[in-house]
Amino acid sequence: MARPVSYNLIEKPLEPDISLAEMPEGHQGEGFFATTLNKVIGLARKNSIWPLPFATSCCGIEFMATMASHYDLARFGSERVGFSPRQCDLLMVMGTIAKKMGPVVKQVYLQMAEPRWVLAMGACASSGGIFDTYSVLQGIDQIIPVDVYIPGCPPRPEAVIDGVIRIQDLVGKESLRRRNGEKYKALLESYGIQ
């Protein structure tokens, strides 16, 4: 007897095999395309983010699932996970950071070249989570600036992908001058980073 199935009931047109990034606004004619440098660089950067996983606990396991074939972070141009901070653009802090680990996270951040982004994944990295105790750092934003927080304990891979897409948004829209600006300098200054 055939079992009733509850999926694939709605016919959907197939996505094309290769998804292309959307073209930025600009003027084009035959043989030329003109747009702002900002947009082109933003487009290139946002679709080729190299993440540096700093995984200390269960969030790291969810991240592994995110990287693997089922969720496949490679679809968003982030399949190249680097393990040298000097090559990476995005520091993904996943898991509880003990106070003793704090200087290590900070040093990894300092070793990254500008422009760099930071993503705090899960309750522990964002706020200390359930570990409201003397030995645990109550959120990594006490030592380094954070761009995107992913809630959850641990967050599901979908949430991680959502976080990465939000990072991509920030990366794509960032002005090329932001990192040289006074505001950014003041931000780093507030963390004691020169």
């Binding site: 003793k100 704090g102 105790t133 030995s135």
Partner: protein, 167 residues
């Protein structure tokens, strides 16, 4: 002939008479109390004695009893006789305002890190320890977190509303 708790107790009382006291056997493990300045003598005796041979220090830790005036800190030694597979445990008590205890590092190398941990969390001062500094917590920490007068929660946190946590 297996080493029995009665025999250990007998050997100890022969040597130290009524200095070792409060013998108990919770779950079959011989437990007793020793005055704080005798801890090394007892450890040495248990180690050297040809019959007892307690030559493995399983663990060493402290307990804080804030209501136990004058003897707030208990330091607990767990010893193991690997030949007869017998374990014993003994406690010494000290005043928290002067927690000076002789170190066991001369006898057991394992005591080095265990005593550092005990110092780290309870502030027990092990006299004669070669390297008595914090081992697990950050070096900048200026208190002993496992003492009962300090709250468990991190005090640097400003974004937490106590009401939401039932406090």
């Amino acid at each position: 002939m297996a080493l029995t708790n009665e025999r250990i107790k007998q050997r100890l009382t022969e040597k130290f008479s009524d200095q070792v006291s409060k013998f108990e056997e919770p779950y079959g493990m011989l437990t007793f109390q020793v005055p704080k300045d005798l801890n090394l003598k007892v450890l040495n005796f248990l180690y050297d004695d040809e019959e007892l041979k307690f030559r493995f220090l399983t663990t060493l830790c402290a307990v804080h009893y804030p209501d136990n005036k004058g003897r707030e800190l208990a330091i607990v030694y767990h010893l193991h006789n690997l030949v007869d597979n017998v374990r014993i445990r003994f406690k010494i008590y000290t005043d928290i305002s002067q927690p000076d205890i002789y170190t066991a590092t001369g006898l057991f190398s394992a005591a080095n890190w265990l005593e550092r941990e005990t110092y780290d969390f309870y502030g027990v001062n092990f006299i004669g320890h070669p390297n008595l500094k914090r081992i697990l917590n950050v070096d900048e920490m200026d208190y002993f977190p496992m003492r009962k007068e300090y709250p468990l929660e991190d005090q640097t946190r400003t974004d937490k509303d106590d009401e939401m946590f039932g406090r």
